[in-house]
Every structure is written in structure tokens, then in C-alpha cells.
């Protein structure tokens, strides 16, 4: 007989939110570090660095996230690290986020008017000072809205980690569904929980975008 879908089952699914959040946070933190490196490489005066970053972005944007998860998951196994869905998901999502954030932030860096760099050069500022004091602070302001937008994508993307067996929100839903066979109820709850995570972020991103549009219209 199937288990009934009661408070315990609901609780199990709700508690799985923490793993979705933790995986998202790790991937976002790793992706932020990787993304800034990729973005800087993309606008670097050193040509091989630019090409490397471009290739990295193209590969990760041009292949499905699920394949990236598979490759890291089975790849780690081949290299003797063993089967560990948590590590594999964290690495794959970090690489994925690095590529996307790198491309988003490259755009933000390039959106800073060229006159800002020219003024920096004319004052004799070196690369480091120009980036850290002039370009990146201005790029950061522009980047907030698209970055939050990507974070929403990333949270939803973590659901794919369920396929390699990482028990986050979606996987928890599958487990409960296998026991209760109430797919509509179970996955409605799962979807509602994703919505509660993502909707406020989307609203916030749109609010920031609006504020940015007003700020730049002046």
C-alpha cells in the first residue's frame, strides 16, 4: 500500500528547501568568484586570456546544464574521487554560474563609458586602481538587477541536481511521490516552494532595474 500524504511528508519536502538554498548559495558564491575572473579575462588586454574566457563561456552556455552535471558527476568518479552528488552538483553549478555571471558582468564592465577609462589613464592610474576604484564600482551598480535575475535561474537550475541523486527540493518531491503516489499534490507543493523562493527575488530584480533606469535617465 502507499503511504498517505500527511504532515510528515509535507515537512520532509519543506525541509529539503534548505538543501536547495545551500546548493544555490554555494554555486552562487563559487560562481561569483569564477564570474569576476572570467569577466576580467574577457576584457583583458591579454589576448589568450580573452580567448580562454570566451571559450569557457561558449562551452557552458552552449551545452545543457544537465550534461554538465553528468560530466562532472561521472568525471569525478573516473578520476577516483568517487560518486558524490553533493560535490558534483556544487562543482557543476559553480562552473555554470561562473560562465553566466562572467558574461553578464563583462557586459556591465563594458557598459561603463569609455571616458571613465580614458580619464583614469590620463591621470596615470594603473590597471589595478582603474579597475578597483573606477570601473568595477560603476559596473557593480549596473549589475545588481541582472545578477539577481540570474540567481533566480540558478535556484531553479539546482532542481536538475535531483537527477544525479542529490536530495534537494525536487528530489525530495520525487521520493515522497514514489511513496505516496500523489504526484499532483506533491509537485504542486514543490512548485509552490520554488515560487516562494524565486518570486520575491524576481520582484526585487525588477524593482532594481526600474531604479537603475531612473538613475541613468538623469
Amino acid at each position: 500500500m502507499f503511504r498517505t500524504f500527511g504532515p510528515n511528508e509535507v515537512w520532509y519536502i519543506v525541509m529539503a528547501v534548505q538543501w536547495t538554498l545551500l546548493l544555490s548559495a554555494v554555486a552562487f558564491a563559487g560562481g561569483a568568484a569564477g564570474g569576476i575572473a572570467i569577466a576580467l579575462a574577457r576584457v583583458s588586454p591579454i589576448r589568450p586570456l580573452r580567448y580562454f574566457a570566451l571559450a569557457f563561456i561558449r562551452v557552458f552556455q552552449g551545452t545543457p546544464l544537465l550534461m554538465q552535471l553528468f560530466l562532472v558527476f561521472f568525471g569525478l568518479n573516473i578520476f577516483g574521487v568517487g560518486i558524490n552528488p553533493w560535490v558534483a552538483a556544487a562543482i557543476a553549478l559553480t562552473l555554470h554560474a561562473s560562465a553566466y555571471l562572467g558574461e553578464i558582468w563583462r557586459g556591465c564592465i563594458e557598459a561603463v563609458p569609455s571616458g571613465q577609462s580614458e580619464a583614469s589613464w590620463a591621470l596615470g592610474l594603473g590597471y589595478r586602481d582603474r579597475m578597483s576604484h573606477i570601473i568595477l564600482p560603476q559596473a557593480a551598480k549596473i549589475s545588481v538587477a541582472p545578477t539577481v535575475g540570474f540567481l533566480v535561474q540558478l535556484i531553479k537550475g539546482t532542481s536538475l541536481a535531483s537527477i544525479i541523486g542529490f536530495v534537494e527540493l525536487t528530489r525530495a518531491g520525487q521520493i515522497i511521490n514514489n511513496a505516496t503516489f500523489q504526484p499532483l499534490t506533491v509537485f504542486s507543493l514543490v512548485a509552490a516552494l520554488y515560487f516562494i523562493l524565486c518570486w520575491p527575488l524576481s520582484l526585487w530584480a525588477r524593482h532594481l532595474e526600474g531604479r537603475f533606469a531612473i538613475a541613468t535617465a538623469r
Partner: protein
């Protein structure tokens, strides 16, 4: 100041010899020879696209050139990147669009480069900044952000910011073209003050009143060439070249 042959050569602030500049197929500067003496004020004029900006931007290497040599303050720029960094500290530039740093206050705009590039202390940088803000007559705006200032005030901040590096040469690329007419004079007056203090200046401008008053020599450019050079008196009253005459005719009304 009358420029004689000897104070020009041995002790030149800027010396360009046989400079050629291409943008791809486009020949933007054609065998430019120009020597600027220390303390000399040069006004560069000419039609749009004639290469005026390109010419002065070569002096602090915002543009690189394909041929010829550029020597600034005795240091040959075209000889390597180390020299470029050295020269940029000593050459100030003022842009048409001000290019102030919008996320920093006026004071921070003026303090950043002296601290980061010259390595002066924060206190000293602030003292210098306030002195120059006083000189360009906006000491009371020090704590504001650029967006809170008028165009004329922003451009005076840009001049102060450049002066805080204690430059030996100042480049101006159409510093008043983006300003409302009523603000042009406050910026020109600042530049006239600077000129009277002996700064070496290269100024791209179509403000012919300024040229008459301040310039030691006026340069007319067309199609990437220096077509005519003269002291303002003769340049305006008796231009030698047909193209110069046409141009002066166009801008006088």
C-alpha cells in the same frame, strides 16, 4: 611669449616628429611635426574629423601611433610602456565630456590619483585638492557628487582634478563644447588663469576669443595634416592657406 628657435628645441615640452596614425585604412594623422616649448600655449582648430583630438591624445598615448617619434618632457614615449606611465603622471587632460568619476565626491575625484599614483598621504592630497578647488572657484562644492553640479562646475572640477597631479603640461579637448553658452566663460576664465601662471597648454577649441587672448601659436588642421601654424595676430588677420581662410570664414558666423 614669443617663441624663438632656441627655446623651442633644446628644452621642448612636446616634440612630435614624422608622426603617422592610421585607424585601419583611414590615415588620421599625416607626417605631423610639432614642437611645443615649455610654457607655450597652443590652440588647435580645424573642421570636424580633421584629427585634432587624435593629435593631442597621442601626447598622453590615449592613441598609439604607427610611425614617428613623440617626446614629452625629454622622454620618448614611443620607446615603451614604462615611459607612457611616467608621462601620464605629468600630463593632465581635460575632456569635452568632463569624465568625472560619478560615484565619487568632488574631493575624492581630486584625491584619488595623487594618492594612488604619486603616493602622497591622504591629508596632503586633501589639502592640495582643496587648494585647487579654491583656485577654480568651487571650494564649497567639495563634498558633492558630480551629478549635483552644473556643466561649468563639473568642467572646473575636471581641471582641478588634473592640476592636483601637479602636471607639467595640460591638454584640453574642446573643454567648452558640451557646455551651455552661459557657462563657457567660467571655464575659459579658469584656463586663462592657468595660462597666466605659465602652464604649458595644448587646447583644441573653436573659441577664437580665447585663442587671440592666450595662444602663442594657433594650429589649423585639416584631413589629418597641420595646414597652417601662426601667431594669433597674423593667423586670424592674414591666413596664408585657402583652407584656413574657408574655415575661419565658416566659424566667424
Amino acid at each position: 611669449m614669443v617663441v624663438t628657435a632656441q627655446n623651442i628645441d633644446g628644452n621642448a615640452a612636446v616634440k612630435m616628429a614624422g608622426v603617422e596614425k592610421w585607424y585601419g585604412e583611414f590615415h588620421a594623422l599625416k607626417s605631423i611635426d610639432l614642437t611645443v616649448a615649455r610654457g607655450e600655449k597652443i590652440v588647435v582648430c580645424g573642421p570636424s574629423g580633421s584629427g585634432k583630438s587624435t593629435l593631442i591624445r597621442c601626447i598622453n598615448q590615449l592613441e598609439t601611433v604607427q610611425d614617428g617619434t613623440i617626446t614629452v618632457d625629454g622622454i620618448e614615449l614611443t620607446a615603451g610602456p614604462k615611459n607612457v606611465e611616467k608621462i601620464r603622471r605629468d600630463v593632465g587632460m581635460v575632456f569635452q565630456q568632463f569624465n568625472l568619476f560619478p560615484h565619487m565626491t568632488v574631493l575624492e575625484n581630486c584625491m584619488l590619483a595623487p594618492i594612488k599614483v604619486r603616493g602622497v598621504s591622504k591629508d596632503e592630497a586633501e589639502k592640495t585638492a582643496r587648494t585647487y578647488l579654491e583656485r577654480v572657484r568651487i571650494p564649497e562644492q567639495a563634498e558633492k557628487y558630480p551629478a549635483q553640479l552644473s556643466g561649468g562646475q563639473q568642467q572646473r572640477v575636471a581641471i582641478a582634478r588634473a592640476l592636483c597631479m601637479n602636471p607639467k603640461i595640460m591638454l584640453f579637448d574642446e573643454p567648452t563644447s558640451a557646455l551651455d553658452p552661459e557657462m563657457v566663460n567660467e571655464v575659459l576664465d579658469t584656463m586663462i588663469d592657468l595660462a597666466s601662471e605659465g602652464m604649458t597648454m595644448l587646447v583644441v577649441t573653436h573659441e577664437m576669443g580665447f585663442a587671440r587672448k592666450v595662444a602663442d601659436r594657433v594650429i589649423f588642421m585639416d584631413k589629418g595634416e597641420i595646414v597652417e601654424v601662426g601667431e594669433p595676430e597674423s593667423f586670424f588677420s592674414n591666413p596664408q592657406n585657402e583652407r584656413t581662410r574657408t574655415f575661419l570664414g565658416q566659424i566667424s558666423h
